[in-house]
Symmetry: C2
Subunit: 467 residues, 2 copies
């Protein structure tokens, strides 16, 4: 653990009037009405934090919960070749973000030594038979740890895959062998998976009741598999605590999460930028961008505000990846409708770097690259893209942080979770619920004959059209 | 090769007035003004197809070009453990789509036998040193085939990584060894990579001049690596030819690509749905969705129309994945702003399937799943999600096709390419250019000291803000 005097840096010059030739945000408002508005949002969030309704605030300080993840990893996660996590949405995206950021690229292709004896990782999110049939022959039940993750314990995609795995495990190990090989992460004490764990003697790692799926990465949902994989979860939690401390103040100018929420809320609701790109320039942040997309979309995409009025609100979060997507959606960002705001994300220093060697000197189209490092190139592309967008009058901002490690990742998780809580208050919606996904679950249940789910009576299709 | 009497089916009932309770498209217009509008778009595209400007139309019938890819694969692609493709954007996305759709999941983790002796595949798109440093120690220059792909031959991200590889290859094999191990795919006869290939005796696979990066998947850009990997490129091209034949008619009701383009153009420009989700329910179509995103964004996101008038137009294509993203952005799709249209994509039958075994009968929350197959579950989720959106008055449509294989994938590539050509005509923009990405390239060049690129003079940041 090294001393880390400061958190990320937000460069929002390209979101303000001066930088954009009059577009973007009037900076005076950040000390005026926007500061007032934020103060009210802060108070609303503070109240829900205090009552414990927003359970994610408590996770970084919950030593006992962290210890349970660590103990389970120590007891069951040694001497296994593979860790198979069965979970979808909030039960998978946080772990994928941790994997992408903190394990070497291509982890599953590394040999045991390069993995420091830690297992390969498979995340079974989508119940696609192509994916599962390709995986099953390659895992040895005797050498694999399974972790089924569902807050409610009723997620159809997860339970169906669990049943396939269960049947295979029983056949290979007998019913007695299951507790060594299957860990259940679910809401403490409630729901079908909790019952299953209790009756079959499976280890249960609890998700606190007040922690929803998309806010659960710092609970055992993320911490247990991370610990099995050798990630230092103390560093993750410390980074999260530091970020929470930095984003506690009711004054907008002193609250980073508040500034992020305020600028993005304003971009959507007043400046006409509902499409919000989270665009890291680091392959390690791919998973983080998808995690943030879920956090934003499910928390802010709401039909009703907290007073029950129809608002149908919420920005559209769009993950993008630099420099790759400069060759995909940058054209649209530069020249298309002015309905977008970009949040660039990048470390200030590489973990490792590669100097482009001075070969092919006779080719000026190549030789200018010699002597630069790949990190310089990648960061140069980021700065150039931000500047090109600025010159085109397109609002963007950049979050940089010292380097990508467990501590900074924990900080980013917490920064974005707190920001979305503030954003919920600014939009006037409840960021903790997701009522809109229920109908699809009931209809699916009806199609599959689940008790309590009526036949969905999907009308016959009138307009099928042969292509 | 099996007889295949028909192409995909478009179900657009959930995009029409009746299905949506008056929202969506008035079906009478499909035989009225929209048919007229399409007839003009068809004529404009037909003209550019005839002159050869739209070179992608000619690729499926270019036997000679396909033969060059196959011959290069036969000569150089045998007895290698790894194929490393260095390319970004249109030089990478089509191949990733082919990989995801046509190779077994987890290809690189399969043993030689399961890969039928074909190599592992690495696509070096982003110049992230983390990714390259993790890969380099694991590839043996003597057993690896490299393919550098850049239409212009000037792509900085690609050339920088090529120089790293070049230096390593020269050290390991000597300059004489390079032609056995490095294939160049670039514009025929022009540009730095073509010069390099000529002077160093490297095999060059040409990209026809009139084929842009995002339209190049059926050129050697996709066909050569696909052939090395054992994909039947004849089937890909046949599927593309069949799709082109199905989408040739000037009458809207008889032109599938025209119908797709017309509905999506109308959704954006008249119905207020600029966010357009491409949402496959098949893990194998992940890469296809990203390929389609680039195709849509770069082709339609334009500042100027073909008359030079400022229009700043283009929809925002958003890849999403069922059932996974039902647990991420479905909440926003169901309840947020009505600015979205969803295009579901799915095969009608699985390639393989898994029956959920009837275990855990005492748990009704699980037992109802027993006896169903995973494919039934996945397709049930898709139908339920489409129906839930319909009931919420949210426009969506579904493209299904018999099964996912090389022939259907080739057909999907062509269907979408033709559709975007029509959409360009409907928007009144040129779908073949991408002028908006040039500024970023010049600024990057300036930062790296490339000759001809001035110092970018990025203004000092006024608003750096410590988080």
């Amino acid at each position: 653990m090294t001393a880390r005097p400061r958190g990320p840096v937000l460069d929002h010059g390209n979101a303000l009037h001066e930088g954009l030739g009059g577009a973007g945000v009037d900076p005076k408002r950040l000390e005026g009405d926007l500061a007032d508005r934020f103060r009210a949002a802060h108070a609303a969030v503070e109240e829900r934090r205090r009552t414990g309704e927003m359970g994610f605030f408590r996770l970084p300080g919950d030593e006992e919960l962290a210890a349970r993840s660590r103990a389970a990893a120590d007891d069951l996660g040694r001497d296994v070749d593979a860790l198979v996590v069965i979970g979808i949405g909030g039960s998978a995206l946080g772990l994928a973000a941790i994997r992408d950021a903190l394990l070497p690229a291509g982890w599953n292709e590394l040999d045991d030594e390069a993995r420091r004896g830690r297992p390969r990782l498979y995340i079974l999110a989508n119940p696609d038979p192509d994916t599962l049939t390709a995986l099953l022959p390659r895992i040895d039940p005797e050498r694999t740890l399974f972790n089924v993750v569902s807050k409610s314990g009723t997620t159809a995609e997860t339970l169906a895959q669990l049943m396939v795995i269960w049947s295979g495990l029983e056949a290979a190990l007998g019913a007695d062998g299951l507790p060594r090989r299957l860990v259940v992460t679910t809401s403490s004490g409630r729901g079908p998976l909790a019952e299953l764990a209790a009756s079959r003697g499976l280890r249960l790692l609890p998700i606190p009741e007040a922690v929803g799926g998309r806010f659960s990465v710092l609970s055992p949902v993320g911490a247990f598999p991370a610990s099995v994989l050798g990630v230092d979860i103390d560093e993750l939690l410390m980074g999260a605590r530091e970020a929470a401390a930095r984003s506690a103040h009711p004054t907008l100018a002193e609250n980073p999460a508040g500034m992020l929420a305020t600028l993005l809320h304003l971009a959507d609701t007043e400046l006409g930028h509902p499409v919000q790109l989270f665009m890291p320039y680091a392959d390690g942040l791919r998973g983080f961008a998808y995690w943030a997309q879920q956090l934003w979309a499910e928390s802010l995409g709401k039909a009703l505000d907290t007073e029950g009025r129809l608002v149908e609100t919420g920005p559209t979060p769009l993950p993008a990846f630099g420099a790759t997507d400069q060759h995909s959606i940058l054209q649209l960002m530069m020249e298309g409708p002015r309905d977008k705001v970009v949040v660039f994300l990048a470390p200030e220093a590489p973990r490792r770097d590669i100097v482009v060697p001075p070969v092919l000197r006779d080719y000026p189209a190549l030789s200018y690259l010699g002597g630069h490092t790949l990190f310089e190139l990648l960061q140069g592309e980021r700065r150039a893209t931000a500047e090109a967008l600025r010159r085109a009058g397109r609002m963007n901002m950049t979050i940089t942080f010292e380097r990508l490690d467990a501590r900074s990742l924990g900080g980013l998780f917490m920064l974005f979770q707190i920001a979305v809580a503030y954003a919920g208050a600014l939009y006037g919606v409840d960021p903790l619920d997701q009522p809109g996904v229920e109908l699809g679950k009931v209809l699916t249940g009806g199609l599959l004959g689940r008790s309590g789910c009526p036949d969905p009576e999907i009308p016959p299709v009138a307009s099928r059209w042969r292509m």
